[in-house]
């Protein structure tokens, strides 16, 4: 065994490794990115701004103190006391709300004096946002427990009853399925475009095509037809699994079609733009990953933006995939026409800009 030979081989491997941008991305940048994103999401709750709407029907010092306790951990939004709480929640599309009943203060005072009276709070939550709900339950449960200890030495004076804010019982999978459609269309179009453009350029296929009567625009149109076809194929496959395996109730409307087509065009355009600057096949992988992974984790695919620190949730709102996810949920699951229209308009505009810029950036020849 020759140590010098082993050392030289090691050195050569090291050189080859750091000269390959793809391996550097997967080995260093990607784990760092994951650590930063998930660390930010799951670190101390102080930075997290989960909001809870509260209707205080008691409007006393004690009820205000209770709300103030909740406000130390949650962002409290007020529901006026003179409206019907349930209607207000439904009309304003509120997804987490607490109603403090009238007589809250007097019941607590009675409990101090030994009465067995209990005070039920009404908590309404959207079941599709389980990760947010967990935080709200944790904060409310802790606060209620603390107050019960103070009042009666742990006897359950305060308690809460949980109901769903929606008429239909949504599950997490209802929330998740549109996100899966969003990331699938995004990854297949971005990876497909970057890999194809980079390989075809490297292999001389684009040069060869440029010498034929087939024009660059014809090529783009055919590729977009293909991407759109693949996107719809994936979308309907996911829907079929969702409907038949998970019993999801899905609405298929015009928004779904516009959003899927826009998503295919937006991310193909993004892919074309990126592949203009990617010279090697190995780099294509990391370039596609660098664009798709942050969106996958930050754009509300796996969990709602409310669980993220405010700076991350603000950042998510500049990501095209966020509008895809929200638009698909509004259209397919919540049947929220205005929400679907708003998000569809945004993703359509993003698609128009990205596709035109990407198409102009795609060159076959000098």
């Amino acid at each position: 065994m020759k140590p010098i030979a082993i050392f030289n081989d090691f050195l050569a491997n090291l050189k080859m490794w750091y000269r390959s941008k793809g391996t550097v991305f997967w080995a260093i940048l990607f784990p760092i990115l994951l650590m930063l994103i998930f660390g930010a999401i799951y670190q101390g709750q102080g930075d997290v701004t989960v909001s809870l709407h509260v209707q205080d029907l008691d409007e006393t010092e004690i009820s205000e103190e209770f709300i103030s306790n909740l406000g130390e951990r949650l962002k409290i939004e007020t529901i006026p006391s003179d409206v019907d709480g349930d209607n207000y929640i439904s009309d304003n599309n509120i997804r987490s709300a607490l109603i403090i009943p009238e007589g809250f203060e007097s019941s607590i005072q009675s409990a101090y004096l030994g009465s067995n009276e209990s005070i039920p709070l009404s908590l309404s939550l959207d079941p599709t946002r389980e990760s947010v709900n967990g935080i709200i339950r944790g904060v409310l449960g802790g606060t209620v427990q603390g107050w019960n200890n103070d009042i009666s030495g742990a006897r359950e004076v305060l308690s809460y009853q949980e109901t769903s804010v929606t008429a239909e019982e949504f599950k997490f999978i209802d929330f998740f399925m549109p996100g899966v459609i969003g990331i699938t269309v995004m990854t297949s179009t971005i990876y497909g475009t970057i890999f194809r453009n980079t390989k075809y350029r490297k292999w001389g296929i684009l040069s060869k095509l440029s010498t034929t009567p087939f024009s660059r625009w014809e090529y783009l149109v055919s590729k977009m037809l293909f991407m759109t076809f693949i996107s719809f194929f994936s979308t309907f496959l996911i829907i079929i699994v969702g409907v038949f395996v998970w019993d999801i109730s899905v609405t298929i409307d015009v928004y779904l079609f516009i959003i899927v087509i826009s998503t295919a065009f937006a991310f193909s355009g993004m892919g074309m733009l990126i592949s203009r600057f990617v010279k090697e096949e190995e780099t294509a992988d990391s370039a596609a990953g660098a664009v798709t992974f942050p969106q996958m984790f930050l754009a509300g695919t796996f969990f709602p933006l409310e669980v993220m620190p405010s700076y991350l949730s603000s950042f998510a709102r500049v990501l095209p995939l966020y509008y895809v996810n929200e638009g698909l949920r509004d259209s397919m699951i919540y049947e929220d026409g205005s929400g679907a229209l708003f998000n569809t308009a945004i993703i359509f505009s993003i698609a128009a800009v990205l596709f035109v810029v990407g198409a102009l950036a795609t060159k076959w020849t000098e």
């Binding site: 292999w203 001389g204 040069s207 060869k208 440029s210 010498t211 009567p213 076959w364 000098e366």
Partner: protein, 305 residues
């Protein structure tokens, strides 16, 4: 006078201040195989890519079929076939599918079965491109350049990296096209390829055409000669041969002469003086030596530069 299919005048091409092509002029005549030879980096591919419309010239004129060639020359594109350098096709299409794909772009089409037969690809027509050997891939590449039955075919280094047998297969295909009367613009850095296939040759060196003409003219014009080699010849008798013979380390005597008449004169001296030798060999100057005489370097040294 034979019609010019390609007519290039004062062509230059600069890349970020580097002069890749330095004012070259040449023409390619109808029905000939015109070969541009030279080391890597000499400017062959840049020249052919300008003729194909892949690159724009910095200055100069490019006329193909008598018309100024530009991006918009769709009519011209219908009449040309191209095999780009280091070309790789779609990995997961079969040979037949690949040819059909390219054929679909053209108005005039050559039968795919005919191309497959011409290139001896019958056994491989349903094979995926990714599973073909290097030689077969290049033959498919040549086939792709034929789908529109073109009048003019560009083959940019079609045999680079191939083993001798595969190279021979590509040469055979080019020979058949030549017999069909196609005009072929071939670039190569294999001198023997140009010698074997080309009617006329241009030697490129550092962005310029150092010499051009048919092989015989190049040899005669640039130090052409014959070398008579006498193996196993007694060195004491070399003075009897005249013509300043040289003796190499193996004891082989070599005499340079200009024409076949002088060869026979040497042989007469050998017979007259009853000089003994083991073996006799006559070598003609080849393109590689012409290249050395013209550029002052070998093609390998040119590559390194």
């Amino acid at each position: 006078m034979t019609e010019s299919i390609i007519d290039i005048k004062n062509l230059t091409k600069n890349y970020n201040g580097t002069k890749a092509i330095r004012g070259i002029s040449f023409n390619v005549k109808k029905g000939e195989v015109f070969s541009m030879v030279g080391p890597n980096g000499a400017g062959k591919t840049t020249t052919v890519e300008i003729c194909e419309g892949i690159r724009k010239p910095t200055s100069g004129s490019v006329h193909i079929f008598g018309e100024e060639f530009s991006k918009k020359s769709k009519k011209t594109r219908q009449k040309i076939g191209v095999l780009p350098q280091e070309y790789r096709s779609f990995e997961r299409l079969t040979v037949k599918e690949t040819l059909k794909y390219y054929s679909s772009f053209y108005e005039t089409k050559r039968s795919i079965d005919d191309i497959i037969a011409l290139l001896d690809l019958e056994d491989k027509k349903d094979e995926l491109y990714m599973n073909l050997s290097g030689g077969l891939k290049q033959r498919v590449g040549v086939g792709m350049a034929l789908v529109n039955d073109p009048e003019l075919i560009y083959l940019d280094e079609p045999t680079t990296g191939l083993d001798p047998r595969s190279r021979r297969g590509v040469w055979d295909a080019i020979e058949i096209l030549k017999k069909e009367g196609k005009t072929i613009f071939l670039t190569t850095h294999y001198m023997e390829e140009a010698e074997f296939l080309a009617d006329r040759i241009a030697i490129m060196h550092q962005g310029k055409i150092a010499a051009k003409g048919c092989l015989d003219d190049l040899i005669h014009g640039h130090g052409g000669h014959y070398t008579v080699l006498l193996h196993g010849f007694d060195p004491k008798n070399v003075n009897l041969l005249g013509k300043e013979p040289k003796i190499d380390t193996n004891g082989t005597v070599s005499v340079k002469v200009k024409n076949p008449t002088e060869i026979s004169k040497i042989l007469q001296k050998v017979i007259k003086n009853d000089l003994k030798f083991a073996n006799l060999e006559v070598k003609r100057t080849n393109l590689e030596e012409v290249f050395m005489n013209v550029t002052g370097t070998t093609i390998e040294e040119g590559d390194a530069a």
